[in-house]
């Protein structure tokens, strides 16, 4: 079979990093490297592309479908492009009891999107997620973006408005931020 054509591969770009990651695991257990490799691939585009999935599968000698399964299982991995900042609101039972549903609804309304959608300027995606282990501080959410993960606890919709203003990059800075 012919290897799949890939434009710029992860291997081209991150050869050293891939090697360091693989070195952490015994050669016959290299499939264990799947999590750090997916994490690395996500950094590239903000989500995991189809070709990255195939490439990781090939690197680890597992089926592409297995990589997809892992990406799909974890709420921190994305198979589709989204906003620059992902606002991930916990709506699991304990949070729901403390009003997470209404909170999520208001946040969405203020941003003019529905759950799972991205604002027109491509900056914010609002998502409902499972328990983030801060049940006693609901409503709570985390923001996932290029600088990592940040928790926000005991929040109100107004708090979110303030945060959104802070995070929202002006169109002028946008190019720089995206490429950086």
């Amino acid at each position: 079979m012919t290897p799949k054509e890939m434009v710029v591969t992860l291997r081209d770009r991150y050869a050293d990093e891939i090697e360091t990651i693989l070195e952490r695991y015994p050669a016959e257990q290299k499939r264990s490297a799947v999590m750090p490799l997916i994490f690395m691939a996500q950094r590239e585009e903000g989500y995991i592309t189809g070709s990255a999935i195939d490439e990781i599968a090939e690197l680890l000698d597992i089926a592409s479908t297995q990589v997809v399964s892992i990406v799909g299982f974890y709420t921190l991995f994305y198979a589709n492009p989204g906003g620059m900042h992902r606002i991930q609101i916990c709506t699991d039972l304990p949070c729901a009891l403390r009003g997470a549903d209404e909170f999520a609804e208001q946040v969405c309304e203020n941003l003019g999107v529905k759950l799972g959608e991205t604002t027109d300027d491509g900056q914010f995606t609002v998502e409902a997620v499972m328990c983030l282990a801060a049940c006693d501080k609901a409503p709570m959410f985390q923001v996932q973006n290029s600088s990592g993960l940040t928790y926000y606890e005991c929040q109100s919709a107004d708090d979110v408005n303030v945060l959104v203003k802070e995070l929202r990059t002006s169109p002028d800075d946008l190019d720089e931020t995206v490429s950086g």
Partner: protein, 844 residues
């Protein structure tokens, strides 16, 4: 054997091997604990909670370790505070299990209700309806009324193609992971998996093509709901409308047991095969089928079948009745003075081949097996694998040597079972894998599971096996041909493994070898088995990967390869009588002046050349038997009415025999089998009655129990019988002389290989498989490709025997340098053996 453990389930005292799960222990006393995610062939996961039961263990005195007794002198039981999943808890001595308490009943009802909260309940349009575990278990354990509103159910896609063969209905999936675990544990191809989680969880495939596995159809059998359906059967019929006929898969030498489901079709206007299902036979196919067996049945009902006898007269073909045509043929045969050349295909049934052989022999003629490209049938009769061997059950005491065969492509269920023996994945009490040696000239799928991979050059197959024999028999000098186990660390390691093993099976094929070459390999393998004392018992002996389903039967009935070309074989013949063989289509020629008679299903090239064409019944229209590579004689039964005037082949030959005054017409196929039993060595004692015998199979599947093992059918029609080998009958079998084949040399050696999905006449008539059938191609090593200036996908002209054949190119590291792999039966020449070839790139 594992120790027995005794426990009590409700009122029943049960004794089972240690390690058995409660659910299986209960099943063995007909206590049907309901399950969804559990499957007796898969490792338990405890995902669905349907199997909850109460479990207790005897209380023991801490000091003395003695069981504590209550005031009545009964053992005190420590009941676990919560219900336990019967599918994950192994039994222990003195354990008590309660499966009929209020608590258990309530739990079952709740789990069913929970599953139904997001299940569409569209049973009236669901293919599984009528044989659906969810439907059945809801009826027996669920609540009569729903507390949910239809609008509260989530709505998802109902037609998601996982490739073109299997469809997923996302709403119906209950997330049991049976399908994904089957692919992962039992096939080793995790090409379907779970995406997302919770309610959003769904089955996805990311392979190319989708759901890329030769075993995909099995997931539709074990899916406990109608979430997975085959493109072949989707919306095809309701389970209760269909007739059931036990049959045997005609596609390869494994001989999987099948069930043909048939129904009248308004569209076609007659009875048709709606689906092919596995019929349980644990030693053969367990409860599985490969996709070729499942979807490749359409040739039988194909509209281009021959239905009337045809006679060529003055250059024109005219239709004739049997009354006219048989005396005509008989007269020609009688006038031939014994110059009758009989050529019979390896796909015919034993009855056909026996009657064919009897007729031609009676006339003083000669017979030939076609294509007859693999040797060793006589050796299989002497040292074939011991009767009762179950490949999947072989364990640490056994070495399995696979040589010159790409087992995954040539005998899929044997590959499946050998993989099982070598990995012990899935549900098995024996966790000690057999040691697997794979010896081939190139990479094959089985390598992944091998303890030792032996690579030889094409042409060195025989010497490689001989070197092992020499190493074992202590003949330290090695052998003259240059392959010397003593100085080859890998080969001597293999030799040591063989010496250390209690049992050994050699599975040999014919890749890269012609009739005499594969015969020599068979002899070399037999010698190795004899030298190491591995003949005549269960788990020992020789297993041939025959190119066709009934090659062994042909050998047994006396129709053997001639080891020469058809033109040589037929030279001087006045009449050439063919049955189910198409040598002309394969590039051979028949003598101009001979009178040619053929019985066939289709108008093949040979049939077009024939003077008389006799329409034969397909195996699905008649009775008969096949003998698989492990010498198992198995019966098949008529599932469809005969087509037109077609007759079973055997019937044609016995009528001719009778017309010629050489014998009488037996009453039916069963009577032919009685003659076979009387005349054919080692078939004595075989009768249709005995072939229909069954014994209890584990796991219990089929019928009412579809929730337990899926929709595989229980075997009530016969497990077949294995003919004994000479070794088993106590004969001293002597090693024979081996003549290694000579090797040709040239720029490129083109080696014919076998693909499961080819463009042969049987599979090509199953349209459903077309997307999986490759275009004609050759495969080259990267180094050769570079040297020849061709890349993947380029069109090339392959020059063999003075002819150019246009092919696409694949490039990989699998073929050895200097070798062109050339899949058989895609297009192009039928290469009888490895040949010298050259290559030219075609401009596009």
């Amino acid at each position: 054997m594992a120790d027995q453990v005794t426990l009590k389930i409700d009122g029943d005292v049960v004794s089972v091997p240690a390690g058995t799960l409660i659910v299986d222990a209960a099943k063995s006393v007909s206590n049907d604990i309901p399950v969804f995610c559990y499957h007796p062939k898969l490792d338990p996961v405890g995902m669905c909670r349907m199997c909850l039961v109460e479990v207790g263990t005897p209380l023991r005195d801490r000091e003395s370790g003695e069981p504590e007794l209550d005031e009545h002198g009964d053992q005190k039981i420590n009941w676990m505070p919560k219900l336990q999943t019967a599918c994950t808890v192994p039994v222990s001595a003195g354990m008590r299990v309660r499966t009929a308490t209020q608590q258990v009943t309530r739990a079952r009802k709740d789990v069913v209700e929970f599953l139904l909260t997001s299940h569409p309940l569209d049973c009236p349009v669901c293919d599984k309806g009528g044989e659906c575990p969810l439907q059945n278990l809801t009826m027996s354990h669920g609540s009569g009324e729903s507390r949910y509103l239809f609008d509260e159910k989530i709505q998802l896609q109902k037609r998601v193609p996982l490739g073109e063969l299997i469809f997923l209905d996302r709403e119906r999936c209950i997330q049991c992971a049976r399908c994904t675990r089957f692919q992962d544990e039992l096939v080793g191809e995790p090409v379907i998996g779970f995406d997302k989680r919770g309610r959003a969880l769904q089955i996805v495939t990311f392979s190319e093509p989708g759901f890329d596995s030769h075993f995909s159809g099995n997931t539709t059998d074990i899916c406990p709901v109608g979430a997975l359906t085959t493109a072949d059967f989707r919306f095809g019929a309701r389970p209760w409308e269909m007739q059931h006929t036990p049959s045997i898969c005609p596609h390869c030498t494994v001989g999987c047991n099948t069930h043909l489901n048939t129904r009248r079709s308004g569209m076609v206007g007659g009875t048709v095969i709606k689906r092919v299902m596995p019929r349980q036979n644990e030693k053969v196919n367990e409860i599985w089928l490969c996709d070729k067996g499942r979807f490749g049945h359409h040739f039988a009902g194909s509209s281009d079948r021959l239905t009337v006898p045809l006679v060529r007269k003055d250059g024109r073909t005219i239709e004739q009745s049997w009354e006219h045509v048989l005396p005509l043929v008989a007269a020609k045969l009688a006038a031939a003075d014994g110059e009758v050349a009989g050529i019979a295909g390896e796909r015919l049934s034993n009855e056909d081949l026996f009657c064919f052989q009897t007729l031609v022999e009676g006339l003083g003629g000669r017979t030939m097996q076609w294509p007859g490209r693999m040797g060793g049938g006589d050796l299989v009769q002497q040292v074939g694998v011991g009767a009762g061997t179950d490949l999947a059950q072989l364990g640490a005491e056994t070495v399995i040597l696979v040589v010159a065969s790409d087992l995954a492509e040539e005998a899929p269920l044997w590959w499946f079972k050998v993989r099982q023996a070598a990995t012990k994945a899935g549900a098995t009490l024996n966790k000690h894998p057999a040691s697997l040696v794979v010896a081939n000239a190139r990479d094959t799928k089985l390598d992944r599971y091998a303890n030792h991979i032996v690579r030889y050059s094409y042409g060195d197959e025989v010497q490689t096996v001989q070197a092992l024999t020499h190493a074992i028999s202590g003949d330290g000098a090695g052998i003259e041909t240059g392959i010397d186990a003593q100085h080859n660390p890998l080969l001597s390691e293999v030799a040591r493994a063989i010496e250390a093993a209690e049992n050994m099976i050699i599975i040999y094929g014919s890749e890269g070898l012609d009739f005499s070459g594969s015969g020599a390999l068979a002899q070399a393998c037999a010698n190795l088995l004899i030298a190491s004392g591995h003949v005549g018992g269960v788990g020992n002996g020789l297993l041939p990967v025959w190119p066709s389903n009934n090659t062994q039967g042909a050998w047994d009935m006396g129709v053997r390869p001639a080891g020469m070309s058809v033109s040589e074989f037929t030279s001087g013949a006045k009449v050439v009588l063919l049955a189910g063989a198409d040598p002309v289509g394969d590039g051979e020629s028949l003598p101009e002046d001979a009178f040619v008679v053929i019985s066939e299903l289709f108008k093949t090239d040979t049939a077009s050349r024939a003077d008389v064409v006799l329409p034969a019944q397909a195996f699905v229209e008649r009775e008969g038997s096949y003998t698989s590579g492990d010498r198992r004689v198995q019966r098949f039964y008529p599932a469809l009415p005969a087509l037109g005037d077609a007759m079973p082949d055997w019937n044609i030959f016995v009528r001719l025999t009778a017309l010629l005054g050489l014998g009488t017409v037996p009453a039916g196929a069963g009577a032919v089998m009685r003659q076979i039993a009387a005349d054919v060595p080692r078939y004595d004692g075989i009768s249709y009655e005995r072939l229909a015998d069954v014994e209890e199979q584990w796991p219990h599947v089929g019928g009412r129990d579809s929730y337990y093992g899926g929709t595989a059918f229980e075997n009530s029609a016969g497990l077949g019988l294995q003919t004994p080998t000479l070794a088993e009958m106590g004969h001293q079998v002597q090693p024979g002389n081996v003549e290694p084949p000579s090797v040709e040399s040239g720029e490129f050696l083109v080696v014919p290989i076998t693909l499961l999905y080819d463009r042969g006449s049987m599979l090509l008539r199953s349209k459903i498989m077309h997307q999986r059938l490759p275009e004609p191609y050759i495969e080259l090593n990267v180094v050769d490709a570079e040297r020849a200036g061709v890349g993947a996908g380029d069109r090339v002209a392959l020059r063999v025997n003075g002819h150019d054949w246009e092919m696409a190119t694949r490039v990989s590291t699998s073929p050895p340098e200097g070798v062109i792999l050339f899949p058989r039966s895609l297009a192009g020449p039928l290469l009888p053996r490895t040949m010298v070839a050259s290559l030219r790139k075609l401009e596009s």
